[in-house]
Point group: C2
Chain length 573, copies 2
């Protein structure tokens, strides 16, 4: 393509309202433009990159035998009522009414539609296993759309759904999908981790992994072990127990301690100095309408998902001040495990303390020498805290590292949640009817581009991985007005086109500085400058991140480019 008439409006200035690097780069390099909050237009370069990502996803889905379909965006509300999600989905679900006042949802995901399809079209186990997928625009009215394509309200997603007759079948499908995801993200040049994730309090059987691109801007935390490869998201992550069980040593009796105006862990920590490591923090929650207390060490955070799993509920929220007063008899800031008359969940690190300091359930008082088991019950002890830096791997004992991550994909064993709700049943081998066993698998295709750019850039601009680059090569004649340069650039351009190398020819009459700056900003893998040595058929060949350009003959430059491009192009075959 020729650059003169290409709709690629680059920006010199950094857009002030774009916080994420990838968002700034996409705006500056002319890949996208906003139309409304969280709603973007893909300009030609952005569209090309997006199509490359689509193609990689499609190839890997086809490779594992997933069948491409296209499900409607407009989904009747009745279907969402059948699954029970219409009323619980909340304002993220885009709703509309048609001219006959019938209610529709704009698909944020397609479990309902695809389950109803299988219910209506498949009746025998002999047609299973089946995996279908689509690459389609999705709609979610996010509360806080931000970071460009990282969290948009209209975005491109690959969603896949699998149907099996037994759990072993689902395991195999899940594994194939999991491996396909690894190939996809690897081909996109992404630095990522596949992490164990939480299926929610109720979906206990639902194994699930999230694919997290590592990046500072990420909204999630990934816990990883470089020793054994264990990785999980923070919600799910476990660590090895830090302390051995409490030594059976004598401890002084419980002591009431006057702590006027000391209401926060921070204040207590400052007051206590080294002794702060023995602080016990008690949080009051309301689970399914009833109060419960959770005790962790002062420096730890409660992992609410772990608490939910222990209680078998997905309705858990922090108690308000009034409830705290009622339950503890004291205002917020003085709760403690001693004498508390509600279920008490004690983190195992607290249980392992020989003694500690805790709130006294009385205004302006704490207790010293609180001894777990003696002063409060250890009947409900477990892992209720978030992993933090310094923790060690639950599997191999090596130190854990924490990273910020962007969720670019997930795989999920749904089980029979939707097939039961919608009645998707098949006759099994034995002739009896059974609910179909499902999995669902998503990739945020547009978000993936953002994640890649978060990782692949330098101060000058984007550094595209070859697999997603809008063009492989950028041909820049220094002086378009110079006949020799222009002709050689054109010859090279035509040559590359005929060889299947995607080239952009900068045929603009601009100053060389402007052209070079644009080239670095849009960041194609190879830049070929046709300059003063055009008469000798010598050009400057430079890979985007190479420190220096090389002087090569046109023929040598073409050969180098082919070496670079061709193995990648045939990768998917």
């Amino acid at each position: 393509m020729r650059q003169q008439n290409l709709l690629m409006p680059t920006l010199r200035e950094v857009p002030s309202d774009a916080e994420a690097v990838s968002h700034r780069l996409m705006l500056r390099a002319g890949l996208i433009r906003p139309l409304a909050t969280g709603v973007y237009t893909y300009l030609p370069l952005g569209r090309r990159a997006l199509r490359k990502a689509e193609a990689i996803v499609r190839e890997e889905m086809d490779r594992i035998g997933a069948q491409e379909v296209l499900l409607p965006a407009m989904q009747p509300a009745e279907l969402w009522r059948e699954s029970g999600r219409y009323d619980v989905y909340g304002p993220e679900l885009v709703r509309l009414r048609d001219r006959h006042d019938r209610e529709f949802a704009l698909g944020p995901t397609h479990e309902e539609v695809v389950t109803a399809l299988v219910r209506d079209e498949i009746s025998s186990y002999r047609k299973l296993p089946l995996t279908v997928y689509q690459i389609q625009t999705k709609f979610r009215d996010e509360r806080r759309p931000r970071y460009g394509l990282l969290r948009g309200r209209e975005f491109l997603m690959k969603d896949a759904y699998s149907f099996d007759t037994d759990w072993e079948g689902l395991d195999a499908t899940y594994r194939a999908m999991y491996e396909a995801y690894h190939r996809i993200f690897t081909r996109c040049g992404l630095n990522y981790r596949a992490v164990e994730a939480d299926a929610g309090a109720i979906g206990g059987e639902g194994e699930t992994h999230e694919f997290m691109a590592l990046a500072e801007i990420g909204e999630d935390t990934v816990v990883a072990c470089d020793g054994c490869g264990y990785a999980a998201n923070l919600e799910k992550a476990e660590a090895a127990a830090v302390q051995a069980a409490a030594v059976e040593e004598a401890a002084p009796p419980l002591e009431r301690w006057h702590t006027p105006d000391i209401r926060t862990i921070a204040q207590l920590t400052e007051l206590l100095g080294p002794e702060a490591s023995r602080l016990m923090k008690t949080l009051l929650y309301v689970a399914d309408g009833k109060p419960v207390a959770v005790v962790v060490r002062g420096a730890d955070e409660v992992n609410e998902l772990k608490v939910q799993r222990a209680l078998g509920t997905d309705r858990l929220e922090l108690a308000d001040a009034e409830t705290v007063q009622t339950v503890t008899g004291a205002p917020v800031g003085f709760a403690g495990p001693v004498g508390l008359n509600v279920p008490l969940l004690v983190d195992r690190e607290v249980a392992a303390l020989s003694e500690g300091i805790a709130g006294a359930n009385e205004r302006d008082y704490h207790y010293r020498h609180v001894r777990p088991g003696r002063d409060f019950s250890l009947a409900h002890t477990g892992d209720f805290r978030e992993v933090r830096l310094g923790d060690r791997c639950v599997r191999c004992g090596e130190p854990l590292t924490l990273h910020r991550g962007i969720e670019v994909g997930h795989v999920f064993k749904l089980g029979t949640k939707y097939s039961t709700a919608l009645g998707a049943r098949v006759t099994g081998v034995s002739g009896t009817e059974q609910d179909v066993i499902m999995g669902c698998y998503g990739i945020g295709v547009s978000r993936l581009l953002s994640a890649v750019l978060e990782q692949h850039h330098d101060e000058q601009g984007i550094v595209w991985p070859l697999s997603l680059a809008p063009f492989h090569a950028h041909i820049i004649p220094v002086a378009v007005a110079d006949d020799t340069q222009r002709k050689l650039a054109e010859e090279l351009y035509e040559r590359l086109q005929s060889l299947g190398v995607e080239a952009l020819l900068d045929d603009r009459e601009e100053r060389p500085g402007v052209k070079f700056k644009d080239a670095d900003l849009i960041g194609f893998p190879v830049r070929i400058v046709v300059g003063k040595k055009a008469g000798e058929r010598v050009v400057e060949y430079k890979e985007r991140q190479a420190p220096e350009a090389e002087q090569l003959t046109v023929e040598e430059a073409v050969r180098r480019l082919l070496e670079l491009v061709k193995p990648a192009a045939s990768e998917g075959a």
Copy 2:
């Protein structure tokens, strides 16, 4: 792909609610399934065919230098208010409110979005001409969705928009697009006509063509001349004048004629016998709020668009009974041109009559011997009637033919309608600012599939053109349980896959009759049956519409298939 687990639910019975052949075939062959009225799921075979159509469209767009973009489906209402379309578009526009109660439209088309984009990003003529296109799901809440994909509420469309600095530029862009459309529809194997169409009463300068697939189910009428190739849609079509100007012969004076209970042309025609050819039919309209009368021959129909153009209005509707009574002084059924005190538009065929019969503007009376020019004014004479069978070409005089047609594409010279409304201006060569000159170009990609199937089928099922067929070849082992047959079928399947021939292997344990029926129904170009002669490596090779199968060796069958497939596959290169 293997058929056993392919989601391809074929139906033996003809779905009772599907009127169009293409709709029935798509349901029966398992290409689509309805989710809601006018909203369809594309199953794997349908998705494959759709992707082939997309690929053809994309190749031909890229070939003429159009740049692919992706514009949002969610469009802020403010943008539609800027163009003035938000309030006039009516209930076809799908509207919604986001969580902040902001109004959005789901794009039925993208003139507003793309014009605003060009307004914001392009300021100089040097970046023009520019043509962008996208292939995207569109939403139109049709009053009467029907015929499957022919008139849906959610459908796939290719829309393109061009931007030029002058009309000559637009002419060239329009011509390139027009030719690309010919290539697209030809490659899809469509029998179609590019017809002159009407740009609407006001858009006089807007040249526009519609691409009409010829099919009985079509909702439009195409007028075509086999002599010179002239083609137009019925609204726009002209015919040569039928009669010479009236001979200046003496005519008897006007005669009042008592016609009790004769109120319709049909009754008059029966009463008059051969003389009916001289009937004059007078219709009262209201144009921009004022009554006008139009006179055509009894057997002709008024072409309201021609009337609109003559009056320079797009607000024209038939007068109601009350208005007819007020204007003519008589009830409906007795209107005539004589003595009528409103503007009188006289069709030239009426003007050419030496005398005729017309209503007398009096209950139960008509006039005989009505002489145009003597008894009523010929000040506003013109072509106001619809072309009908028997008319001759306005260009070459050959007989015109009338066909039913499905609009599968249109090209339209928009001019500055949107650029003026939205302020899309560029600095021209001379340094002055000017409105950008636009064109828009659409193809209904999903509708195109329906149009193709309306033309390509027989009693057994679909007869796919090679270019759109979901698979090129269907391999059918008669008895899967037979080792020799199964192995040869597998070998052939693998061989074709490796050669880039898309094959579907019917590995189902079904009776041969079921397999053959399904094969004819889904209609891939070539069927290869592996049967009793598998031991001799002989198979049955049959093109879908060939009367008989041929006995060929496997090698010969592969060679024949490659001959068929490969030239087509490289067509777009």
